[in-house]
Symmetry: C2
Subunit: 219 residues, 2 copies
């Protein structure tokens, strides 16, 4: 199946949402956005996920990230369901818009279809896809999870922190990295440049190849 | 860009690896597999990731999951680099095969290209993609991470546990779920059936809609 993947520009669709009509590029603006689908309103995992997204809203807001939910239910259904979501996650308000895509046009264009899931009429349903979109409107990172597996907002915050840090500095984040831990310096930076660029200190790892490519710093 | 996505059958390619020629479907066999790409040998994040994968090998093995790495470097380069990987993560052996894809054929077919990354000759490089493939040879879940962001093996183990549990029982795992925590019962199971199916106990959550769809149990 053809599908949106990392590096692609997110289609500039006009979509119907719980906050009225939205044009996706205008919504992303000059910041970041997380566009995430859920299979259906009034279903268990989705209720826990949308509540959790609301609970993490402050984490996303302080990083300049907007949220945009999406499923194939209509706006009226979303509005009714939000009451359940908010009741299940006390103190959390769903302040982000949720797209209504009853014709399955948006989920197809955004690579958000779970081919294993159908509604009672045999219509396609969304997967638990989540795309992180940068200020250039390109997909920077994607999670493609099936209906059975709820996402992990801790991992979403972790990768967002990595994406934003690695755009700002010439670094990358190693395996299992957590915010605050050391990062690695990009291979494009020479040892001389690294000294200038990271006066806080660089730790070079001695490897059997004697190639000096594994260098840690803190940013 | 067209690309492999969840629900698709992984192409049954014959690939060149550090363990000789492998046909992908034969390698997956009747079990599970994690197929994961890295941008290049002798680069920092990749070295931490392949070592971490080796460190988690026991976790994967006890779940019946095989590992298959991939980058565009050749087999000789992989073999040299493995010495660095093993030195950096002491006590870990890279016992899984790594595909050599200098012609970029495999990474294109497996949706593992990072369009932002090029080598010094202007050739395409892989992203940090990771597909979990089930015994039916279909992609169950995918991570599409860019070169800058190392993956999180804790999240890989978490979703694997979810995928294997939700195939075995009529349940799904809620947002931020961790192995051992309660799961939710699938909407297709009636309350009567749930009592029979989960004699260990079912907790129904009371929601404003009074729709009885959020039900927890332990499996």
């Amino acid at each position: 199946m053809p599908g949106l993947t990392i590096g692609d520009t997110i289609p500039n669709l006009e979509v119907e949402t719980t906050h009225g009509k939205i044009r996706i590029h205008d919504y992303v603006g000059d910041g970041w956005a997380i566009i995430f689908s859920h299979p259906a309103d009034f279903t268990p995992v989705c209720t826990t996920e949308l509540g959790k997204m609301a609970a993490y809203a402050e984490e996303f807001e302080k990083r300049g990230v907007k949220l945009l939910g999406i499923s194939c239910d209509d706006v009226k259904c979303h509005m009714e369901w939000i009451k359940d979501v908010e009741a299940y996650t006390p103190g959390c308000r769903v302040t982000y818009p949720i797209v209504a895509d009853p014709k399955r046009e948006v989920i197809k264009l955004l690579n958000m279809v779970d081919p294993e899931e159908k509604d009672s009429n045999g219509n396609q349903l969304p997967s638990r896809a989540l795309h992180i979109v940068g200020p250039d409107k390109k997909v920077k990172l994607s999670f493609l999870y099936p209906a059975s597996t709820g996402r992990n907002m801790e991992e979403v915050v972790r990768v967002l922190e990595s994406l934003q840090k690695t755009i700002k500095y010439k670094v990358a984040t190693p395996a299992n990295w957590k915010p605050g831990e050391p990062v690695v310096i990009s291979p494009s930076v020479s040892n001389e440049e690294a000294k200038q660029m990271f006066p806080q200190g660089v730790e070079n790892v001695n490897l059997p190849s004697k190639k000096d490519y594994l260098r840690f710093t803190k940013v």
